[in-house]
Amino acid sequence: MNLRRVVITGLGALTPLGNNVQEYWEGLSKGVSGAAPITKFDAEKFKTKFACEVKNFDSSEYIDRKEARKMDLFTQYGMVVAQQAVEDSGMDMERINPDRVGVIWGSGIGGLTTFQHEVRDFTKGDGTPRFNPFFIPKMIADICPGLISMKYNLRGPNFTTVSACASSTNALIDAFNYIRLGKADIIVSGGSEAAVTEAGVGGFNAMKALSERNESPETASRPFDKSRDGFVLGEGAGALILEEYEHAKARGAKIYAEIIGGGMTADAYHMTAPHPEGTGIVKVMDIAIKEAGIAKEEVDYINVHGTSTPLGDVGESRAIQQVFGEHAYKLNISSTKSMTGHLLGAAGAVEAIASIMAIQHSLIPPTINHEFADEDIDSRLNLTLNKAQEREVKVAISNTFGFGGHNCSVIFRKLEE
């Protein structure tokens, strides 16, 4: 079967580092941290009192006030980045066939704020159920791609993928496959998450998953550093327009990169702990590389999952060595979560954008906050510590893994005619 080629023709981002792709990339290349004390609620009693929040967000620049009221924050974030990406792509809605355009979105949780507020209000009452009629449609994780389709009249495949922190990479790979298989010509993909709430922070704190470095939020996310103590919760959204290559060429679209391979595996091991041998993540990179039809030596950059947890970072670094052998030492590796924090279901989308920007600008964004080497991580690996490095990037891999043992790996390549 002849598979079609798929390229990226539009980007949108709303992140703790900036509220569009340009600001986001500027923050990444300068090595800025997006972490600060939590403003969304009073975190005084919480073990972790900081997060990587989106700053100065004003939905009214993008969404009618009446419509915004019916959207959870994760949907508002999604609507904003989808609009940025659609505008960036230069798509002429009058000239495309809406039946051939889909939306495949990723969110790890969905409308957590909405759920929390509705349930809290209910438990404050006398037991009489008085739920808002928008409670369910605001909360469900698939409402964001639904609303994006309504805004632009996009009638192709439409759904949300849920695989915790791998969600939006799953969405990108699904979008890639649907276009390759001829089921759509364009898919608005990406993901959004807004879990900086009492339930989100409290829940992750209970798992001991979050950093508790309250005295120094901006240095708390320190992947691969010996003193790392958990991830920093982030929020935001990323959108990517995936388009069939000939379709993009025919309309003279700007092409950022080609998406050439996607791997998906499961650890089948534990609810939250990564497999000690890293078998699932070795396999997922192998599958993606094989599917891309490239040699391992062609890979220049890996944007790792690297969440800054004690177990995860060691496992991933070892898996990279196992997959790439000697080439592992020639690659650039970095965790942009050191700057953005962990955007959960939106991580894959914003990290895919970071990988594509690295290709565009021939610059590897750094892993910031490195102080102490961890003897469990091979010091010969180039983890792009503390400062961005110039390098021509032809092929970049973005890894994301999720609670539940979901692993995703997606590969982007500089466009070759």
Binding site: D64, K66, R130, P133
Partner: protein, 79 residues
């Protein structure tokens, strides 16, 4: 205008995002003010909350205009 009527108008303006001039007694929530079925349910719930009453479903069905809401509430609040 009664206090109830004023409050009803404010709720409608807030929830439906419409201009005050549009909120006439004859205005229908769905036909004139752009409400869908969920908006209408939410409006009724807001009236219940604001005026601390319970509006049975069969009576809520008969409230589809601004005037109907005001007259229902004027009749049933504080009795």
């Amino acid at each position: 205008m009664s206090e109830i009527a004023q409050k009803v108008k404010e709720i409608i303006i807030d929830k439906l995002g419409v201009e005050e001039s549009e909120v006439t007694p004859e205005a229908s929530f769905t036909n004139d003010l752009g409400a869908d079925s969920l908006d209408t349910v939410e409006l009724i719930m807001e009236f219940e909350k604001e005026f601390n009453i319970s509006i049975p479903d069969d009576q809520a069905e008969n409230i589809s205009t601004v005037g109907q809401a005001i007259s229902y509430l004027e009749k049933n609040v504080n009795k």
